[in-house]
Symmetry: C2
Subunit: 207 residues, 2 copies
């Protein structure tokens, strides 16, 4: 496993970001304790900023876990909603508690089940956040194409896959991620950029 | 000098970005030939995307060189203007030629002289791009505070300064950059994030 960002630079970036929301701190603590993958505070902070700039009405997440990224999205929303999706009911139950504690429940919709199928119920998605099963990213984008709003932004986490994307003999999952990145940059349907924060965030604006 | 992003990851990111604008290619070639610092295609690509999301009316650059970043901004503008500023007339003359060649002249205003003083003429700046003398970033932000629009975004290049920000004994210029970053994250006037692309890009949204 190769690293993506120089660990000392990463540490410096972390030293600049100050989190004072007790609910976010509690979620980080839970993620750490359960060794549950969350996008982390550098990415959360970045998602918040992008959401503030974009000012979306509807954000749909695929793969919300217990709601860490969704919580950042909700905080940044002016008057829209974020839809959380997870296949595990216990994750969504935890998310509900955190959102209640942070007074953000009215900005959220909670869904349990297959993320792509659930997302199909929503039209005019302004931000689609992909953080579910990595080998299903490309399928999700293709299946949800008509559910996106005119200037929709797709944000995908883990697109550098712990640095595995540069391995000489990538495994099947890594190949799926490489294929997804290739599509997002070269299909002509999106204008894309990858930000090498933590595990790699892809931003893709619908053309 | 420490590196910021794993060079192999950087190479992978570069392999995804395809530039087909002959003027941009010519500018990159000139930057390479003169060893003139330009933001490079990964950053240009990212600036384009952020500009598309933000949809600004007025972008003001401090330190435009021969116009590489400004050219990306201009391409992304729907109906606004980008103001180029450089203290060297010969740089601005080169920029004018490139903009003419790319049919982007009507989206640009060209200024020669002290970047901060020139920028003071402009009100309601939606994006302020800092790429002039690094030790003057903080001064620029303070002096131009009232020239920013309500939801202005400040974008600053080189905020990780070739990795020097993590050195044990930073020199004076590096200290100035550290002080600038500290201010952008902790003054309470901005919501900030640093993207470790190339030499580090700071995005700061006015609160």
């Amino acid at each position: 496993m190769d690293f993506i960002t120089n660990p000392k630079i990463d540490e410096y970036l972390r030293s600049l970001v100050n989190i004072d929301d007790p609910v976010l701190l509690k979620m980080e603590e839970l993620g750490h304790r359960l060794n549950f993958p969350i996008v982390d505070r550098l990415v959360g902070n970045f998602l918040y900023l992008i959401t503030k700039i974009k000012n979306p009405k509807l954000i749909v997440e695929l793969g919300s876990g217990f709601g860490y990224s969704a919580y950042w999205f909700a905080k940044a929303l002016r008057d829209g909603k974020v839809v959380l999706n997870d296949y595990k009911e216990e994750n969504i139950e935890k998310a509900k508690k955190f959102f209640k504690e942070g007074n953000l429940t009215e900005k959220a919709v909670f869904e349990v089940g297959d993320a792509v199928e659930n997302a199909k119920k929503y039209k005019n998605i302004d931000i689609l956040f992909l953080d579910h099963e990595k080998s299903r990213y490309l399928e999700a984008v293709k299946e949800l194409e008509t559910n996106l709003s005119e200037n929709a932004l797709i944000i995908a986490d883990n697109v550098l896959w712990h640095g595995k994307v540069i391995e000489e003999n990538p495994n099947n999952k890594t190949k799926k991620i490489l294929e997804f990145n290739e599509y997002m940059f070269k299909s002509g349907k999106f204008f894309s950029s990858i930000v090498p924060l933590r595990d790699g965030i892809l931003l893709a604006l619908k053309i």
